[in-house]
């Protein structure tokens, strides 16, 4: 992974820049000792590391504004960071950048059940947003797998999804407003407790902008009344193709489950060994969850089972209790941990049209074999968001390169069949150089222009999202 040469003049001014930041913030909010900034050298894309020039941990929007105004004036790049759980390297620092972490900004500012919203500082974790309202019967719907750790700031930056967004949508569909600081320190408000924009939908382009446009410090989020209940059914099939066809039929039949999760044999075996969830010995497994009253759940599951039976499943296991539900979900939810026990892995998240599922799974198998690697598939099947996990050995020379090459081939395949490079993780540095597979020059130029408007100096997270050669003239200007 190529990153731009750090600006030597900035590196040489480190002591002065640190002093400048210390004038704006309490002593403990500026981290600059080499051994301490190392803690921020990477996010969850651990294959790439680079300690930043310094780290700042502000506690208010005013402090964020002061930091950005200062860095803007000094021509210092800034890399924003939520909880550092990005799988795409969205908060990977560069040596000449100040890393701005919002983790200390985690207060709940307002809960308003009448208007079904909560306003939080964006360092707050995803799960703790729901925790703040669940006693009163509400929840925040987007539920990325990392929800225990990941911050709302990162969720907004990456427009995060989760297992339950087939019904409830992703972050952008649940984000009502933000307080955001522009690179020059200007604080703006977009949206709020009301719906939609009176002018251009700037909130819509800010969500998912990967820290390219500003630092979001506060967010107004939609909360929803918790359903009366929810129960999954587990279905086992003798082939990926049949499981894929079953997914399509369920959706077509007018049933909209809250989640349809898909696991293939390598993933089932690893999860079973790890979590002992009692998963059956099958080629492909679906976990489908429906919500509502007890009668509605019965009705929904009956419809799904009736459709599934037309595909001759090897196993139908309907949950009858909270314990059984937890067990069915336990294996799926530990998938990434289970894989981590077996090998190092790269987690892709290309999205494909659901109809192409069987073809794509077959092609992934062929590609994987040709590279002599192993891939396990676990993903949100209802919306076509795949998560092939490419297993490799970080200690074997050349293995990472091989795994990355296979990853690129799989993502190209996703685009080829009408899909995209990333469904919920973001581009970051990981998929930056593949952007031209999906978008032509005019498509990228239109996106670059938006950054030009929000961050004319290209100081915010500048080496991400766009291929380096494409952004080079702007970064150099």
């Amino acid at each position: 992974m190529q990153m731009p040469e750090p600006n030597a003049a900035i590196l040489a001014r480190k002591a002065e820049i640190v002093r400048g930041l210390q004038r704006l913030l309490p002593t403990d909010a500026v981290i600059h000792a080499p051994e301490e900034v190392r803690a921020y050298e990477c996010d969850a894309l651990t294959a790439y590391r680079c300690p930043p020039l310094a780290v700042v941990l502000p506690t208010s929007t005013a402090q964020v504004s002061a930091i950005l105004a200062y860095c803007h004036g000094e021509g210092v790049k800034v890399v924003p960071r939520g909880a550092g759980t990005s799988l795409a390297g969205g908060s990977l620092p560069t040596a000449d950048a100040v890393l701005l972490g919002v983790a200390r900004m985690n207060r709940v500012l307002e809960t308003d059940y009448e208007n079904r919203l909560i306003r939080v500082e964006t360092g707050r974790t995803n799960l703790s947003v729901t925790a703040a309202v669940e006693e009163d019967g509400f929840f925040y719907a987007p539920d990325p797998s990392s929800q225990l750790a990941c911050a709302i700031a990162g969720n907004i930056a990456m427009n995060s999804g989760g297992a339950h967004c087939l019904k409830y949508g992703v972050t952008t569909n649940n984000l009502l407003g933000v307080t955001m600081v522009l690179m020059d320190g200007t604080v703006i408000e977009l949206g709020g407790g009301h719906l939609d924009s009176g002018g251009l939908d700037l909130l819509g382009v800010v969500c998912g902008s990967e820290g390219q446009l500003g630092v979001v410090t506060e967010a107004t989020l939609r909360i929803i009344a918790k359903p009366e209940g929810a129960r999954p059914v587990l279905l086992g099939f003798s082939s990926n193709e049949v499981a894929g066809a079953c997914v399509s039929d369920i959706i077509r039949a007018g049933v909209l489950p809250v989640a349809i999760e898909f696991m293939d044999r390598p993933c089932i075996e690893a999860c079973e060994a790890f979590a002992k969830a009692g998963y059956p010995d099958v080629e492909a497994l679906l976990i489908i969850e429906v919500e509502g009253s007890e009668a509605e759940i019965e009705d929904g599951l009956a419809r799904i089972v009736a459709i599934a039976e037309r595909h001759s499943p090897d196993v139908i296991r309907e949950s009858r209790s909270a314990e059984e539900s937890a067990l069915i979900w336990k294996g799926r939810k530990s998938a990434f941990g289970a894989m981590g026990q077996i090998a190092d892995y790269i987690c892709l998240d290309g999205t494909i049209p659901v109809s192409e599922l069987p073809l794509v799974l077959r092609r992934i198998g062929e590609l994987t074999a040709s590279y002599g690697l192993r891939v396990a598939n676990v993903f949100h099947a209802g919306d076509g968001n795949m998560h092939p996990l490419i297993l490799y050995n970080a200690n074997a020379p050349g293995d990472l390169d091989k795994a990355e090459a296979l990853g690129a081939d799989i993502l190209k395949l996703c685009v080829e069949v009408g899909g995209c490079l990333t469904g919920e993780h973001g581009v970051g540095v990981e998929k930056r150089d593949l952007m031209e597979v999906q978008y032509g020059p005019a498509d990228l130029e239109a996106q670059l222009r938006v950054k030009d408007v929000f961050d004319p100096g290209w100081l915010l997270n500048p080496a991400k999202v766009f291929p380096l050669a494409v952004s080079a003239p702007r970064r150099a200007a």
């Binding site: 079904r116 990456m158 719906l195 939609d196 924009s197 819509g204 959706i251 077509r252 049209p353 076509g384």
Partner: protein, 378 residues
């Protein structure tokens, strides 16, 4: 004014835009011409009627892609045949605007036209998953795609939704669609004042019963439940119990009054300025009261206030709460005086202006349509 332009292909449209740019001539972009939002535009009329047709529909993937000039009715019919629909319930502006045309996909997307179900499933922009458009330089741009989860690059789909043609001319839009509901019922209350109706609607949305419409007007309050038959019966009953303190509502099976609520037919053909105001739902009743003598209707549990006000009334000054007000129908003089779109704070207005300058450097796409009010501009 020269004759209208009617491109037959995206390439031809791009050529027309380049020619207009070279000549410094504005383009007045038209879908079906059924909504009439915005100031009158100086420019050559350009219709997207020649770019029509559904290009892809996969019911099993909940995905439909259509060219901008495709009639919304055509899409709704094709979806209905598969038991699906556009989730956001696009409103039909013909009654309100007194127009005869045919609403199109491009117009729907460019105005982010959402109806009562917006509170449950989001706006048009939330169902839009991909666009193609021609920007003001004549470049053809793609963003998003045809899959419902896509975070590849910046989301220009949302930016184009509701941009009223001022950033680019949409040529194709991809939607995430949803299953249509097999059954609909409404719980209807009569005689509540604005405050009480507001409380009832907000209480309804705080239940887990999936209320997909909450509106109030003319002393009547409507709450809508949709889904599978057994489920609708269960939830309607449960909702009635949860709202018992507001009296016993009556259950009306079937689609009921929702099309009229969606299209604000109560204010069709009436004198005065028609405003569409978006506020926090709990602020809706107060806003409505402050706008007296304007006639009002509440949708979105109070979060959407339709107000029929005297043209001389400074509606925005009377709001008194955060939100925005769009002047949907009024005389050209009133539109010029008040501005059709809500004025933005300085830094936000600067970003919007910056985006317009980048996407339409010659200022030829619906010039002035989203311009600031005369008073502010002066």
């Amino acid at each position: 004014m020269s004759a209208g332009l009617l491109p037959e292909s995206e390439a031809e449209l791009a050529e027309m835009v380049r020619a207009a740019g070279a000549a410094g001539k504005g383009l007045a972009i038209r879908g079906g011409g059924t909504r009439g939002i915005g100031r009158a535009i100086e420019g050559t009329p350009l219709s997207l009627g020649g770019l029509a047709g559904i290009t892809l529909y996969e019911p099993g993937a909940l995905t439909l892609v259509a060219r901008a000039g495709t009639p919304v009715e055509e899409i709704e019919a094709v979806l209905a045949a598969e038991g699906q629909r556009l989730p956001f319930e696009p409103w039909d502006g013909r009654a309100m605007a007194g127009a005869n045309g045919v609403p199109t996909v491009g117009g729907l997307a460019a105005t982010n036209a959402s109806g009562p179900r917006r509170i449950e499933v989001g706006a048009a922009r939330d169902s839009m998953i991909g666009v193609r458009f021609v920007d003001g330089t004549g470049a053809v741009v793609r963003n998003g795609g045809r899959v419902m989860k896509n975070v590849t690059g910046l989301d220009l789909v949302k930016l184009l939704a509701g941009s009223h043609g001022t950033l680019g001319i949409l040529t194709e839009v991809a939607f995430k669609v949803l299953p249509a509901s097999m059954e609909t019922a409404s719980l209807v209350f009569d005689g509540h004042d604005l405050e009480t109706a507001g409380h009832a609607m907000r209480a309804a949305l705080a239940t887990p019963y999936g209320v997909s419409g909450a509106a109030h007007g003319g002393g009547r309050t409507w709450l809508r439940i949709e889904g599978f038959p057994a489920s609708v019966a269960h939830r309607t009953k449960a909702l009635g119990s949860a709202l018992a303190r507001f009296g016993s509502g009556r259950v009306e099976p079937g689609p009921g009054d929702w099309a009229a609520i969606r299209d604000v037919t109560a204010f069709a053909g009436r004198q005065g300025a028609l405003w569409r105001i978006s506020v926090r739902p709990s602020d809706g009743p107060g806003v409505a009261a402050r706008l007296a003598p304007a006639e009002v209707m509440l949708d979105w549990a109070g979060g959407l206030v339709w107000a029929l006000a005297p043209e001389t009334m400074d509606v925005r000054a009377a709001l008194g709460v955060p939100g925005h007000a769009t002047l949907m129908r009024a005389s050209e003089a009133a539109k010029t005086a008040w501005g059709v779109f809500h004025p933005e704070p300085g830094p936000v207005a600067a970003l919007s202006a910056g985006l317009r300058a980048r996407f339409d450097p010659q200022g030829i796409l619906n010039p002035g349509l989203m311009a600031a009010p005369a008073k502010v501009a002066a």
